[in-house]
Amino acid sequence: MQRHAPASRRDVGAFHGREARHLLTWGCGALVLACAVLSLGIGPTGLSLGSLPRAVLGAWTGSPGPETLVLLNLRLPRVLLGVFVGAGLAVSGAVMQGLFRNPLADPGLIGVSSGAALAAVATIALGNGLAAPLMRAFGVYALPLAAFFGGLATTVVLMAVARRSGTLLTGTLLLAGVAIAALCGSLTGILAYASDDRELRDLTLWSMGSLAGASWPKVVAVLPFTLLLLALVPRLTRALNGFLLGEAEAFHLGIDVERAKRLCVLLTAAATGAAVAVAGIVGFVGIVVPHLMRLLAGPDHRFVLPGSAALGASLVLLADIFARMAVRPAELPLGLVLAILGAPVFLHLVVRRGAGGGA
């Protein structure tokens, strides 16, 4: 990632001062709240922004009208799901990029999402056969657990492949990730091929990512994994900053390198797996949101990680609003919307910053 840009290049990070970065952190928080309110109040049926206060009041006083029921049973779980999926994926992306010292690393790109998807699809497709005991034992948690272990297994294989005498080779890692993603994709395809028409449609839509099936059990399923990641973020920032210098240098700075790596890998596999399990494959968040944060506030993980959480949640909420309003009463898949909205923005940012982007 080395390059010598001309000296005239714009300074990195418009919000690079200490106070400005705190302002940015608060701004991100406010953005999430605003997006959440919009997402609660905008939808094809039943509840509008204007009637949102009445619906909230109904829930408060315990005299629920139809608007309150829409709010509590449809919109609120969907908003919470969007927040957890968006925050989880964006932070996972930021952590992986820091861990692998490569701005292209992303759970989606290096096959972790595909591994999680394969495990989840296998659980769905074999739900009445081989995986039946698993479904019975873990109930609503079976799918996130399967996706978690699928993502974890993929990450462990990747790290084993890309490791040479103690160092993680990022080039090898990305290439191996592409290969593993292709392998998992084809195995998922075989499972899909063996499915009936209804399952096939479910699987296809699911692979494009969506919050349409939001429900309280799904919120409960993704909650612990994302919260665990977010709760441990403060403990990761210093290690990830140290990793940017190199693993040996991180060790010199007093970081227990192997422990920090294991923690990063486990947490991102868990959060990615859980997000994939409840919302399907939602790409793009994990790579673009940390990029945006680095452009705004510089590469310090003390700001990149919390900022990515807020920005990721906001982006997913906004994309989801668009997904359910653009072709109502039908819905667009969330993953497609994010790619359509985000890819041009991403491209613009890369071009504006000069070849390669640096961040």
Binding site: L245, G246, H252, L253, G298, P299
Partner: protein, 267 residues
Amino acid sequence: MTALLVLDGVSVRLGHRAVLQQVSHAIPPGRLTVIVGPNGAGKSTLVRVLSGELPPAAGAALWKGVPIAALSAARLAGLRAVVPQAAVLAFPFKVHEVVALGASVPGFGLAGHRRSIERAMAEADIAHLAARTYTELSGGERQRVQFARALCQLFAAQTPEAETALFLDEPTSSLDLPHQSLLMQRAAAQARAGRTVVAVLHDLNLAAAWGEHVMAISGGRLAAHGSPREVLTAATLGSLYNARIDVATMPGSGLPVVLPNAGPAPT
């Protein structure tokens, strides 16, 4: 004064190759020790063993009698800092942020952070680069930033100087002449303050000018050690590098001046 750092029969294998074999030496405390030797002799490996990065296969590197390999990363961070050969950053950190990483070790406390950072940047002559982006700097400027980061770590640790060490792995390879002298002078100042300073150097004249003690490594073994005048002789260097090397004496200072000789190797 007993040595802070002692090598006790250190052997290291990387793959099938014995990189260090039975190296035993007490590194003089409060001095600037220079490690010299041909490429692949094991100089950097020796620094990696001393910094705790690489546990020896046999023998031990000791810090005040305690095996360094047994100390935790966090504990070691308060005892020694390392200037790496070359550090590539994947993301565009500002120079002052890279230096501040040296003070970000937990347990250092926050007192004096800012002063440690500023002092380190001043000593490495990079104060004017503070707001620049690290990835845009030249190789030599990056080396000075890494030097500042290591100094910052030592300053922020607030461990008594006599219990700390500074390791430099070819710290001058990309520096211009004045900055080579400046960096060695600052490293020597740390030694005068009581720290044990160990630098791997390829430039034998720099070793002669700044080294107070020289360790010559060849084929993973300690081939010679002593003062620059004792070790940097035509005979010792000739067998160390297996090449003809001339050594003159600087009039005035009396320091050895090392010159390569283009003739065939001695037999």
